[in-house]
Amino acid sequence: MKKVLLGAAMFVAAAGTALAQERVAITPDLVAKAQAEGEVTLLYGSPLITMQAIIADFNKAYPKIRVNLERRSGAAGAQSVIKEKRAGVRRIDVVQSTEVESAGDMIREGLFTPFVPENIDSFKPIASGLAPHLYAPSTIRSVVMYNPKLVTEAEVERLRNWDGILDPAFKGRISVVEPSIGAAAAPLLYIMNNPELGADFLKKLKAQKPAIYLNSTLGREAVTSAQQAISIFSQFDSIAMSDFVRGSPVRFLYPNPTVEYAGSNWGILASAPHPNAARLLIAWIMSTEGGIAFQGPLSNSRSTLKDLGDTRTVLAKLAETPWYKEPTELWKPDMQDWVTNFGKYQDTWLDIMKRSN
């Protein structure tokens, strides 16, 4: 019930009070104040090298502001700031959350300063799913990863449909990831919201005897090292593209429809000890320069800015391969449903996939 109320409150707040929120923009005054503060501490969940590259771009523009990077992914990061808030510790300025579920917990705790980026109209609606607390400057899309040595071309075609994975030929060759991380949560939302899939689909999937990994990386590693042929419902294109650039032998495909979601949500903590530097960082993240940084070669996610073209250099390389195909249809999760009902969906998943062992 609490979560239902939270979900409703979030969207009322987003829709009704957006104009009343503090507007955040890069101004000479903000820059001067941020430089006087001199530092900002960012708690984040994205891969290390991705965030280091983005912050390196920020520091090119603002070299006098040191960004203290603290990587604590997902729920562990959220738990840490919630506990700090309850204990009155003021240490973190900005949070980048890769999980909507735990972002919901932080919003419920009243951790964030509500705000509106000055250029919010330049963004696609998907950027404001958790507004006015957090904003998503980029999106990612779910993919199916497979080892081309273990999966035939005909099988690849079957995997393009969601129920293709139920083909008996895939029994014992699949790995999934527990939906306690964002990347595994978004596809579960599609499954549970599709009447043709739902719990019945999960039961059939369980009959395929998948290996269940605790995170996407272990699932990916299992496919790379040929322990498993396929990793489903937990992989996403930005990481797949970065791996491709680094020479991974693994391939990926977009199932139809492809789930696209905001995998990187940014907010300013109400208790930020460096409030101006925090605002400057967020304003830059939401700028065109920030959007380009998100599309950089170590990030490969897709900016949510309407007018920014796809500048990812990896696409040209992928286009040269015989196997890469762009998605044909996109499905975007309802953020209210995600925040409100995900616990229920996760329980269903665990009951079927794990607790029934």
Binding site: N68, E70, A75, K83, R91, T217, Q227, G247
Partner: protein, 575 residues
């Protein structure tokens, strides 16, 4: 204040210190288990769920089963290797000693990644070779494989415990049996085993407890394939959405109960062990080398195979992983690069974490050695209710999963100046590794007969002087072992540090974990190699210092080098 009263006051103050370091995090866990997840009120719901329903029966029995296999096998193999090293005196003794202890340089998680690279089906390096020779392959991603890896990485601890005991056992007993016509096997079973069984029991219990707490290795091998263990359940509840640290604490209580039962049995075993004091004013003669005997050659081969499996092969695999971005079973020299290692050495975040790790290692090791010695001394030499209680309190954290120790510290220190400082990481190390070091000093002190202390006391020496002039010189080997274990463990600790690090206090294992979490195994392996190199350097320095001390001692007193250098240890030199 008379001497007895001041002694009791000192013991009470020391108990308070140990209680604060090791007891309070566990107390805060107990409180956590009866709190609602948001900490706003108290509830017994999680205790009821854990102890009165069947929800956790399966992981509990799986944990007990796995820990029992690992405890028994690690002790059996450790006993064999300790006996070989003590009695057969294999070739290359000092090198082999270092090799046997080498797995403790490597965190179990990194070691498991190394063994997966070696032994996973289809693409494991060993399997690729075996398949190319037409031989059957192995599968390390199995229950047996998991036990195998855990035994390899726990064996140095059991070896440490048993080697001490065997070295103190006078070989004249075995020689007498041989003169009476007993075979080596019947001497082993009829003479050696009855004398060392309390140490064997201690080892089984300790390994059982450590195995029950370990989650990194099974987490990579059998958990994805349907097995459930308490340690993994605790980790999931404490770190993954929806986080429920109260339920995690309640589950952790099962492990705590197992530990308390184990420590009770251990205490009984130690009481029995005290009957076998073997170092008095007259030290036992060391076993003689046995020339070129078949047994000596076979012993050398067995130890070399263990070293190969436990450290050389996994380190080789980690080295390979650092040279290639992805491992898919195909290795081409053209695809290899030292780039990751080079970039690791110039990465500011690595250098910062390295600096923090070294500070934590040095400070923690010094404090751990001091505290562990004092706890063990109280337990063995100044027996009282206070010292026994201090020993019990210091032992409690041994099987509380590291992640729960981290949760306990978080509850305890958040909001204080200690939180978010490097000091809290040091405190974690003291809490987590004090039990292991106390065991080591305890074993060492048990072997010292009271006659030495009593003779010094009669001659007017104070307890401080006895410790400084007699106990510590005789415990040099134990101190070396304890320092080695403390340094390696504090450099490798991850599960509690991962909850409490900040941008200003990150340590190497956290950085390695983060790169692993990102799938950047090459970079993670490069940092792990740096960590291993640091430990190898330290251990080499200790080994060389040992050798130099040995040579000096031999030149001073060639007739009884053992007595001159004090107690042997796993790192101690050959006689």
């Amino acid at each position: 204040m008379n001497k007895a009263v001041s002694g009791r006051v000192a013991q009470a103050l020391f108990l308070m210190l140990i209680f604060w370091l090791a007891g309070m995090p566990v107390i805060s866990l107990l409180l956590g288990a009866v709190q609602t997840p948001d900490g706003s009120s108290y509830t017994t719901a999680f205790l009821q769920k854990v102890f009165l329903t069947r929800d956790y029966l399966r992981p509990m029995f799986s944990t007990l089963e796995l820990a029992a296999y690992v405890g028994l096998l690690a002790t059996a193999l450790g006993c064999i290797i300790a006996w070989i090293m003590s009695r057969l005196k294999p070739y290359g003794g000092l090198v082999l000693e270092v090799g046997i202890m080498a797995p403790i340089f490597i965190s179990p998680f990194i070691g498991a990644v190394g063994w997966l690279t070696l032994g996973q089906p289809n693409t494991g390096i060993i399997n690729v070779l075996l398949a190319s020779w037409g031989l059957p392959t192995v599968n390390i991603i199995s229950y047996g494989g998991t036990v195998f890896i855990m035994v390899l990485f726990l064996l140095p601890y059991t070896y440490t415990l048993l080697r001490h005991t065997l070295d103190r056992l006078n070989p004249e007993l075995e020689e007498a049996a041989a003169i009476c016509g007993a075979t080596q096997m019947s001497t082993m079973l009829g003479v050696v085993f009855p004398l060392i069984w309390p140490s064997i029991l201690s080892s089984v219990i300790l390994m059982f407890v450590l195995a029950a707490e370990m989650f990194a290795i099974p987490g990579l091998t059998i958990i994805p394939h349907g097995h459930e263990l308490l340690s993994n359940t605790v980790f999931e509840r404490a770190t993954r959405w929806p986080i429920n640290q109260s339920e995690a604490s309640a589950v952790g209580l099962i492990l705590l109960i197992i530990t308390i039962a184990g420590m009770g049995m251990y205490a009984m075993a130690v009481r029995v062990q005290e009957r076998f004091i073997t170092v008095g004013p007259k030290s036992p003669r060391a076993a003689a080398e046995d020339g070129m005997s078949v047994a000596r050659i076979a012993g050398t081969v067995i130890v070399v195979i263990y070293i190969l499996c436990s450290s050389l092969l996994p380190i080789f695999a980690i080295f390979m992983r650092s040279m290639i971005p992805f491992y898919s079973g195909e290795i081409s020299l053209s695809g290899m690069s030292f780039g990751n290692i080079q970039s690791t050495l110039s990465d500011p975040s690595v250098l910062d974490s390295l600096k923090h790790s070294l500070i934590v290692m040095v400070v923690s090791t010094l404090l751990l050695l001091t505290l562990a010695f004092l706890v063990a001394l109280g337990r063995i030499r100044h027996k009282s209710r206070l010292s026994t209680f201090t020993w019990v309190v210091a032992s409690i954290p041994i099987a509380v999963p590291g992640v729960l120790i981290g949760v306990g510290f978080l509850w305890l220190y958040i909001g204080t100046p200690v939180y978010a400082s490097l000091f809290i990481i040091v405190l974690i190390m003291l809490s987590r590794f004090l039990p292991i070091l106390v065991r080591l000093f305890e074993t060492g002190l048990i072997q010292l007969g009271r006659e030495l202390d009593e003779a010094a006391a009669v001659a007017g020496a104070s307890d401080m002087v006895i410790t400084w002039r007699i106990r510590l010189p005789l415990l040099v080997g134990t101190i070396r072992s304890a320092a080695t274990i403390a340094m390696t463990q504090t450099l490798n600790e991850l599960s509690a540090s991962a909850l409490l690090f900040t941008s200003a206090t990150s340590v190497l294992p956290v950085l390695i974990f983060n790169y692993m979490y990102d799938g950047d195994y090459a970079r993670a392996s490069s940092i792990a190699l740096v960590q291993i190199a640091i430990m190898a350097t330290l251990l080499t320095v200790i080994g060389l210092a040992t050798l130099s001390r040995r040579r000096k001692a031999v030149s001073v007193k060639p007739m009884n080098a053992d007595a001159a250098t004090g107690l042997p240890s796993p790192l101690a030199e050959r006689q």
